[in-house]
Symmetry: C2
Subunit: 871 residues, 2 copies
């Protein structure tokens, strides 16, 4: 198998030799730039220039300005616009630096900024970076560039694709655009200079495709289906490209889609019909820590197939997003921490591309003069003619650099977004951020007057930083960290989960006794727990406690509590931490059991287990703090300390919808505080309850501190709630049962020594309001997630949706389409977002509510359940 | 009127001139000291020397050692002693410095220290400072000193005087001691050198009296009675002194007794029978900031009467106590902050005494060579023969200095405590502290080897510190400070309180309407509130609300709450702070009203008002903090803020036993949090409730936020507790009512939108355990205060007393005597500690309980109520 030529080991030496040459090229480019005019963006004149100037002077103003620009597309009336301006940029919101405040005053700033016509001003700004949506305008703009010797690639802007209908529309827009441009190019009299390579002509029609736009239901758990569905929408586009002799580039988006994009590229261009045509390529993002491997693989893939592809090397446009998301998830940050590292990596990969120019065509996407000069110097060193590769720059950005590159006899392609301007405002914000970034080349050069020396400095002279260190050390700690959710984009994680489901399935239909004083207790009756997706599958048989068993459990808890309550808080916390470690060990199998017994899809089951781990480690950490007596006040001659003492013995009554998390949360908080408890899991999920009991025992909780009592809640639970020896009740469940418990606990029974404490979390009817300035992409996806996550069986589920009239029709249309696009089926199948509801009763109740809804209002849309006998 | 000769303005100049002379005297004394042996105390040999050495090296060891010495008298068995040694001085308790740890090891320390015989070792230590209780030993010791030319004054050690029986015993012990010593002195062949003054012989029998030992019921509110009772026990002593030609000195104790002691001295020695005899004197403590005035007054008093008295100038022995107590009370600290200030003041007052030697005899009580040298130099300058004054030093301390002073031809008197050694251990601890103090002259000279230059340095060269700054600035502050209790030792405060009672009495028998929406509402029926000490006196007539009034109040609160809940927290806090300012303004009249309506004695009433002020300022401060949204956690890309929202409308049901504090506390917490409330004061104290309502209105609370509903709790209160529109209930009162409220609130009424929150503080049965190592002085006083404070009508009152058998008989005897000594009568009379119980029902219930107690157990003692028709 052929192997990529690696430049890794020779770069440092080569760099030493090339340093002066890179500086020379850089100076040459700067000379050309300085001869040209400063780009209008940085002229500090006019609306845009002034705003950019302010934004660079004041970070907070910048943030608020860009937030305003982001929301602007949704605002329809000028009073709304004025209100939002005031809200985002009013003096109280923007804590302006004194200098900026002075500047604003001098310019009569606010009144000018807050005047009329802001929307058209901002639209004007957007027009600088986008081609718009008018066919005539698009072709006119491209023709003008063509005449200047600049080639293009087009990309279609737009909303997030929230439904299959929208994905269909998006695919169609590509076809339409290709037809339009095909007709246009046919009219051009001469080829574009920039499409003239020594290896032969380059296709003039170059289209950049975002694969996320071609399927609305991409889920990390199920890349196979995503590949299938995207391929289905891609094939007509590739077919048309073949017909038109067009070039198709796969853009790179966020990291979560990267492996999918690479796999799709290799898969679809291996299909016989596309094995040699159309011409194709893809982007590689130099800011990714793992992109070198990707580039090597793609070069090897191309060389092995003797198919020339183009690699567009870019730095990457989602740095903030990737950083924030990975930190939120406690996942390793996939991007380099510092811009200089990315720039260094860009140079390394540039060299790799040049060294492998036998197999791949290189397209260098950068506005950075140092990066460009480095490419030119390396190509010169390697004896590669500079028409063998091309530079790519964004439409509307860095015009003097484009001019300079052209004057140096290089090929240049502009990346041209087309589409409606206002919905494309997110793209505008990205460009504005780039133009005002402290680390951006353009701002440093044109706005901040950095010296040529600084701008041409070798980025590798800045020390690299270590890869992201996980803050999870799995050690007892008073600092709490959320347990990361499983990253199902990682193949090994998906395989582990598949294996865990199989493993759990092998353990079905066992009998799960009561546990009293850490001893199993069998009962005369046993209740089967069924897979809600397949009622013929028995997950397990749960013991059915009688009142006598309840008394025995209570006696065991009462015996255990005094010693447990006197056990040092740190020791109790340590045992609970041990439970969290065991849960982490068993994470996949616990999730798999939830999939089978509760009908949760993979990520929901995984999140529930993570939350259970969180409860254990959080309450342990809190107890370690609370366990230290706290000085409450400093009064001379007094020693005032606050100690926390346990309440005694409690009963924990948990629901089935977060079958592990809530049971664990209520139990672990109680026991770590020194109480003894009787766990009463839901009748729907007793096997998960039994599994949790196993973990408490394995961790080493003393007999009687945690007891497991499965059985009829109405009888056994009620008996304990009213029992004079129960000190507290922790309940999560329905309002009806909760209020009954509250009322029962209010009565002081004979022999009861203290008031009963009730922690009672009951149902909710949550509403979402979609305001007139809502980002509908986010609003649709948020509502779908809230309303239909775990089949809507959460107390926090969206159950009333209020949409302000302005957006009503459009929002409803998109929401229905998005709902209709969701995949319904057994939760164990990855990619099935909607699984079964918990049991037949729940299903019937829901169907009844739909029926009565139909009487009271107009049905907007109703889905269907595949293969369900009663649906 | 003759005026004291003041040295104030001439001291600095005189000091400049005298400096070298003081140094010369100092050097002379040091030469004499160094010629003598180092005092055994600091020899670092033997048990005592080693302990002192360790104590000076390690502050924590010192504290624990002295605590052990303090408790030792109570320990009867050696196993108990061993256990306490381990507890106080075990390694975990005493975090020994490494150096000391090493030293202990080298000396085989612990085993030697923890060995047997510790009690006799410590007794031996005590014997160094006290003369013991054996008549023969006492006279033998005094005779020995007499032979050495050292005069004496005797003082009787002993427990705190907790009862009148003990005060009688104490007075008798003085008489016995005087008889003993009178007989002894009669046998001496020659007068003591130190009693030979140029003005004539000084009485050889010199007795120091602690006036606190002569009356058990000294209360700041009632110095008149204290003067009467102490005088009654003093007269036989003074009479005997006359007969024996003895000298009587009044010792000075803590600051709270100072004015009383001065007044007593002037009063009793103005009585005709004591106007010229016996010889007398008193102590002045130089560490008191106000002692100069006292000294001037006493000199003037003596000069005016042409009666020579002796002033014993000391530095003062209660510095730590005075500092801690005044800081606890937020009162000005009466003592100088720095030792050097006290030493400077001592010199100033020394000079004043010498300059007024025409009127008073001076006795300089000091072990400080600098202070002694200063006296000698000043006397020389003024041409005063040095036999015209005397030095006084403590028995068992500073022997080489005594020797030196005698060799210089001065008169010397030893202060000799007599009495049982073990009960006098507190005196031993004071001496040990003095010997090991960082600032003490003796430790610096004999243990730490300070240079003569340091030891003779002019103390005024150390800058004086400003007087104590009160931390109360009466400004809104997020830092909370307790409101100081009124210092009734201050005459003006007592007069203010007398005036306030009279003022309140002028306002009796008014009608107090309901207040709904800040409007008065009259009712058909009115209930009189009676003075519990005089049921014929109507404090006021309280409106009696009906259910319709309750509904109206609820409606007003519901109307007011939404706007109030949205009022910024800081604004709500400010209004509450205003209430606290108004209460501070009205402190005396509010207290006076409590005296009349609730039967609280002065300090209890004052404390209740202070607590009400505290509640307002504390909750306001807390709300200022809580009103700021709190960031709960730092998750990338998220903004997590915690806001506190009001619950709605509540009812506040308060008891009569803290008629202002608890009503204010429950109300102010609720309203500052944004709730609206209906205040339901107790039927026993409605006038206080009405007064509080007035303050809320005067502060500017909007209509409906606080409403006042007096009337039948069983009907109106119960109606509101169960009302669906009541969101919360704050209740303090009986268990029966509390449990009923708890149960009612547990039922969710139709139309109720949220669960009712109940804050329910109910009765208590508190117990005190008197352990075998308890300090019985403290235990008796603590039990008396806890059991009988406000006639025992507090939830925290001691109601079960458990005494470990070792102490039972002695403790019970002292407790009964102490209880029998308490003054019973109307609370408005200052000094009446026991006032009336709240009403006839309460009285009957208590009498019934005593009756049934007599059936079940043996009555230990029963008091009587003066002038009560049914008692």
């Amino acid at each position: 198998m052929p192997t990529v030529i690696s430049a890794t080991n020779q770069t440092p030496r080569a760099e030493l030799e090339l340093g002066p040459r890179i500086q020379e090229y850089g100076e040459k480019i700067f000379a050309l730039i300085d001869a040209a005019e400063s780009p209008s963006l940085f002229s500090k004149k006019g609306f845009y220039g002034t705003l950019m100037d302010w934004a660079m002077r004041d970070e907070h103003f910048k943030t608020q300005l860009f937030r305003f620009v982001d929301v602007l597309p949704m605002l329809t009336s000028s009073s709304e616009i004025a209100r939002h301006l005031k809200e985002y940029l009013g003096e109280e919101q923007v804590n302006l630096s004194p200098a900026l405040r002075l500047g604003l005053k001098a310019a009569g700033g606010a009144s000018w900024l807050f005047g009329a016509g802001i929307k058209s001003q901002v639209t004007g700004m957007a027009r600088q970076f986008m081609l718009g949506n008018d066919d005539k305008e698009i072709v006119a703009t491209l023709r003008k560039s063509h005449e200047q010797g600049i080639a293009f690639t087009v990309d279609i802007l737009g909303e997030a694709v929230v439904s299959e209908a929208e994905a269909d529309q998006y695919a169609q827009r590509y076809l339409d655009l290709m037809d339009l441009l095909g007709r246009e190019i046919a009219r051009w009299h001469h080829p574009c200079k920039s499409n003239d390579s020594p290896r032969g002509p380059v296709p003039p029609l170059n289209v950049s495709v975002k694969i996320s736009a071609l399927y609305s239901q991409i889920h990390p758990t199920d890349p196979d289906t995503a590949i299938d569905r995207i391929s289905a929408r891609l094939r007509p586009i590739l077919q048309r490209a073949k017909e038109l002799g067009a070039f198709i580039n796969f853009d790179m988006e966020s990291y979560v889609l990267k492996d999918l994009t690479l796999r799709l590229f290799k898969t679809i261009f291996s299909e016989e019909q596309f094995a040699t045509s159309p011409a194709c390529g893809l982007a590689i993002q130099a800011y990714l820590r793992d992109c070198e491997t990707d580039l090597e693989e793609i070069i090897n893939w191309a060389r092995a197939r003797r198919r020339r592809i183009t690699v567009r090397l870019v730095k990457g446009a989602y740095w903030d997003y990737e950083t924030v998301i990975s930190q939120q998830q406690h996942w390793p940050v996939p991007v380099f921490a510092h811009k200089a590292e990315t720039d260094t990596n860009f140079e390394k990969l540039s060299l790799m591309l040049l060294e492998n120019e036998d197999a791949v065509d290189a397209a260098f996407g950068t506005h950075n003069v140092r990066s460009i000069a480095h490419v030119l110097a390396q190509a010169e060193r390697l004896g590669i003619e500079r028409l063998n590769f091309e530079f790519q720059m964004l439409y509307g950005m860095a015009d003097p650099i484009k001019e300079a590159v052209l004057q140096l006899g290089c090929r240049l392609r502009e990346y041209c977004p087309v589409g409606e301007l206002l919905p494309g405002m997110a793209y505008l914000v990205r460009r504005l951020l780039e133009n005002t970034s402290n680390e951006g080349f353009l701002a440093n050069k044109f706005a901040k007057g950095a010296s040529r020396g600084e701008l041409l400095k070798n980025p590798s002279s800045v020390a690299a930083t270590p890869a992201f260190q996980s803050t999870l050390n799995h050690q007892p700690s008073t600092r709490f960290h959320n347990e990361p959710h499983t990253d199902f984009t990682v193949t090994a994680e998906r395989e582990k989960m598949h294996g865990a489901v199989q493993e759990e399935r092998r353990k079905l239909a066992q009998h799960h006794p009561l546990i009293i004083g850490n001893k199993p207790v069998a009962t005369p009756e046993w209740l089967p727990s069924l897979n809600p997706a397949n009622q013929k599958e028995v997950i397990g048989y749960a013991a059915q406690a009688t009142v006598e068993h309840a008394e025995a459990a209570l006696a065991a808890a009462r015996r255990a509590q005094p010693a447990w309550g006197r056990t040092p808080a740190a020791d109790r916390a340590e045992l609970l931490e041990k439970v969290s470690f065991l849960m982490r060990r068993d994470k996949a199998t616990l999730s798999a059991l939830e999939v089978l017994e509760a009908g949760k899809n993979w990520p929901e089951a995984d999140a529930d287990v993570a939350e259970a781990i969180d409860f254990c480690s959080f309450y342990a950490a809190v107890m370690r703090d609370l366990g230290q007596p706290q000085r409450t006040q400093a009064v001379a001659g007094e020693s005032n300390l606050q100690h926390w003492w346990p309440r005694g013995v409690g009963i924990i009554i948990a629901p089935w919808n977060f079958p592990l998390a809530i049971l664990t949360g209520m139990t672990s908080a109680a026991v770590v505080a020194g109480n003894a408890v009787i766990m009463k899991p839901s009748d729907q999920t007793p096997v998960i309850g039994a599994r949790l009991m196993d973990l408490f025992m394995e961790a080493g909780f003393p007999p009687g501190v945690v007891n497991l009592l499965t059985g009829p809640g109405g009888k056994v639970g009620a008996h304990l709630v009213g029992h004079p020896q129960i000190d507290f009740i922790a309940f999560t469940g329905s309002k009806e049962v909760g209020l009954k418990i509250w009322e029962t606990a209010g009565r002081t029974a004979p022999g009861q020594v203290d008031l009963k404490k009730v922690v009672c979390e009951m149902g909710g009817k949550n509403c979402v309001i979609v305001d007139s300035d809502a980002d509908l992409d986010e609003a649709v996806l948020g509502c779908i997630a809230s309303a239909f996550g775990y089949q809507g069986q959460k107390c926090s589920a969206l159950s009333r949706l209020i949409v302000v009239a302005d957006n009503y029709s459009k929002f409803l249309e998109r929401l229905i389409a998005a709902a209709a696009s969701m995949r319904v089926g057994p939760a164990e199948v990855p990619g099935n977002v909607i699984g079964p509801v918990i049991n037949r009763d729940a299903q019937k109740r829901i169907i009844d509510i739909i029926q009565s809804g139909k009487q009271e209002a107009k049905l907007a849309w109703q889905g269907t359940v595949p293969n369900d006998p009663i649906a």
